[in-house]
C-alpha cells in the first residue's frame, strides 16, 4: 500500500458522488427488467423458500411453521431420490443427444453448398414448435399400434416396443422427444459458433498437413468449446426444467419411471395439494441446478478455450 494510491477524503467523496450519479442515470434502464425479475423470479424464489418451512392448506394459505421438517423429508424420501436419479438419467440422454446431433447437423449444413439454406431451415425448425405440439406429434409417432417409429423398426426386422407404457423405454422415448425439440436450438447455436472460426485456421491446417478429421479435432472442436459448453449448460437446465412433454406423454409413469423432479413437484403441489412440500422440493432443485452449473463452469476452465 503506497501513500500515493490512497485517495484523499475529498477525492473519495467525489468518487462516491460519481457512483451515485451513475446509479441514478442507470436506474431507468435497469428498473423495467428489475421489476419483471422481482415479480416473476425473485419473489417466487423467496416465497418458495419461505413456504418450504411451512405446512399449508391446499391453497398455500394458513402457513404453519414446521422448520426444516419438509426439507428433511425431501432429502430422505426415496421417491425424491428416485426422481433425482430419473432426472439425472434424463439430463444425460438429452444433453449428450442434442449436443452430439446438433454438432453433427451444424457441421453438415455449415458447408457452402447450393440450396444449403433449405437444409439449415429444416434442421433448425424444431426451435419454432411448442412443447405441446411436439409432444402430441411424438405421441402419434410413438404409438405402439399405428406409430411410424414402430412401423420403421418392424420393417427393419427389429423388435418393436411399447414406448410409453414400458418402464424400460418410457424415459428413452421422452428423451428422444426432448432431443428432437432441443436439437434445433443446439444446431443454430453451434452453427453460429462454427461461422465464427476464421477460415484461415483451416487453410493453415491444410497446408500443415491436417486431414479433415485432424481439422475437426484440432481446429473446430477447440474453437467450438465455449459454444459446446453453453449448449450443454443450457441443455442441463432444460432437462431439469422439462415438464410439458412428460405431462402429455406419460404423466410421470409407468411406475414413476419418468417422474423427473419438476413433475414430482407438480404432482405434490397440484395433485396432492401439498404446497409446502412441493416448495421444499423446488428449492432443493434450485440448489442442485445451481451446483451443477457451477461444476460445469469449473470443469470448463480446464478444457474450454475462450479467445
Amino acid at each position: 500500500m503506497s501513500i500515493a494510491s490512497a485517495p484523499r477524503p475529498r477525492e473519495r467523496r467525489r468518487g462516491r458522488a460519481k457512483v451515485v450519479r451513475e446509479a441514478v442515470a442507470a436506474s431507468p434502464f435497469v428498473l423495467p427488467s428489475l421489476g419483471l425479475f422481482s415479480l416473476f423470479v425473485f419473489y417466487p424464489l423467496v416465497r418458495s423458500i419461505w413456504l418450504g418451512f411451512h405446512a399449508t392448506d391446499p391453497f398455500g394459505r394458513r402457513e404453519v411453521w414446521v422448520g426444516i421438517a419438509q426439507y428433511r423429508d425431501v432429502l430422505t424420501s426415496s421417491d425424491f431420490r428416485y426422481s433425482l436419479f430419473v432426472t439425472g438419467q434424463f439430463a444425460l440422454y438429452t444433453v449428450i443427444g442434442s449436443t452430439a446431433i446438433g454438432l453433427y447437423l451444424a457441421l453438415l449444413v455449415h458447408r457452402r453448398l447450393p440450396g444449403i439454406l433449405l437444409f439449415r431451415t429444416v434442421y433448425t425448425s424444431t426451435v419454432a414448435s411448442s412443447v405441446a405440439v411436439s409432444s402430441v406429434m411424438w405421441l402419434l409417432l410413438l404409438n405402439p399400434g399405428v406409430g411410424v417409429l414402430n412401423y420403421l423398426i418392424g420393417k427393419g426386422g427389429l423388435p418393436t416396443a411399447n414406448w410409453l407404457t414400458d418402464p424400460k423405454w418410457a424415459l428413452v422415448a421422452i428423451a428422444m422427444t426432448t432431443v428432437w425439440m432441443n436439437v434445433g436450438l443446439a444446431t443454430i447455436v453451434i452453427l453460429a459458433g462454427l461461422q465464427n472460426i476464421p477460415e484461415q485456421l483451416y487453410e493453415s491446417a491444410r497446408v500443415d498437413g491436417a486431414r479433415p478429421w485432424d481439422q475437426l479435432l484440432h481446429v473446430t472442436l477447440p474453437a467450438l468449446s465455449p459454444t459446446l459448453l453453453f449448449v450443454s449448460v443450457v441443455g442441463v437446465i432444460f432437462a431439469f426444467e422439462s415438464f410439458g412433454q412428460i405431462d402429455i406423454l406419460t404423466k410421470g409413469g409407468p411406475l414413476n419411471s419418468t417422474t423427473v423432479i419438476v413433475y414430482s413437484i407438480y404432482r405434490e403441489a397440484f395433485l396432492h395439494y401439498n404446497v409446502g412440500l412441493a416448495s421444499a422440493q423446488a428449492v432443493v432443485l434450485f440448489v442442485i441446478v445451481l451446483l451443477l452449473t457451477g461444476v460445469q463452469f469449473l470443469a470448463a476452465q480446464r478444457w474450454v478455450f475462450y479467445r
Binding site: P198, S204, V207, F305
Partner: protein, 366 residues
Amino acid sequence: MGVRFDQVSKYFGDVAALADFSLDVANGEFMVLLGPSGCGKTTALRILAGLEEATSGDVLIDERVVTDLNARDRDIAMVFQNYALYPHMSVYDNIAFGLRMRQITRREIDRTVHEAAELLGIAELLKRKPGQLSGGQRQRVALGRAIVRRPKAFLMDEPLSNLDAKLRAQTRIELIRLHRRLQTTVLYVTHDQVEAMTMGGRIAVMDRGRLQQVGSPQDVYTRPANRFVAEFIGSPAMSFFQGPLADGPGGTLAVDTAGVRFVLGAERAASARRHALAEITVGVRPEHIELADQFGERATAAAFDAHVDVIEALGNETHATLLVGGRAIITRLPPDAAIRAGETRRFAIAPQHLLLFDPASGGRLE
C-alpha cells in the same frame, strides 16, 4: 527444381483473377509477387499452396505437376497475413502441429521446435498462447511453424503488413538473413514496393491477373516493361508526358507536351519512328528532373520553367511539387537544394533518363 506456374488461369465467374500466368522460380530463389490489390498475386500463391483450384494450367514443384494434389501433399509451408496461429494451442504446439501431422517422432519434433525457436528468438515464449504475444512475436511463431517443416518452398502472403513500420523494417532484414541461411525457395506476396525491392532476388510485377514483368529489382526500376510497371514502382511515382511527335533538326524528333518540349536524339528518334507513332508518352523519374542551374554543361533533352508549389523536406532529400502546363509533377532534389515554394524555376532533364512508351499499348520502346 523450384516452382513453376504453367499458363495458370483462375476465373471467378467471368472475372479473371489470374490470366495465363507463367512464372519460373529457381530453386532457392527469393521471388516477390508484387502488385496492387486485386492483381492476382495472392490467388497465384493460393493456387500454388493448393488452397484454390486453378481453372486451367498447371503448377509444378520440383518439376512435378502438383495441380491435383492436396495442400498437405505438396510439401510447402505458408505464412499468412494474419498469421493464422491456432489460438488454443501454445506456441510450442503451434510450431509442432505440422510435424505431428506427419508422424515424426516426439523427440525429433522437440529438437526441431527448440532449434527453430532458438533461431527466431522465441525460445522463452514456447509455453505461451498466441493471445499473449505481440504482433512481432506472433509473426515469428508463424515463421517458426513454416521453417520446422523444411518444406520445398515457403509461401508468404504479406507477412509484414500487420507490423508497425519500425518492426517491419527490422523483420525485413531478418527475413533476408533467414533466407540466406535456409536457402529455401520463397514466394513472397506483397503490395509494398519497398519490401519487393529490398528482399526480392527477382520481382514479378502483376496487374489485373496478368504478369507484367519479371526481373531483378534494378531491372524493373530502370527498365520497366510498360507504363504500369513504371508507374507502380518508384516513390514518388514517375511523371508522364504525352504529346505529338514532330521532326526536329538533324534526324531528331520533338515531343510537344503541355508545358514541356522534349527532344529525342537521333537514336531514340529512329526507334520511335520504327513504331510509326503519331503520339508518344515520355516517362521521367522524379530524381531525374533537376534544377537547371545545377545542370552545368551536360546535354539536356528538355528544359522548362515551372512554378514551385509545395516543398517537402524529408531531411535526406527534398520533394518539390511543380506546376507545369496546368498539371502537377513531383521532383526529388538533394536536401540542400536552394528552392522555395512560390518561386518559378527552370528545370532540366538529361536525355538518357527519358523512357518512351507507346500511348496505345503502354509498352516501353527500347
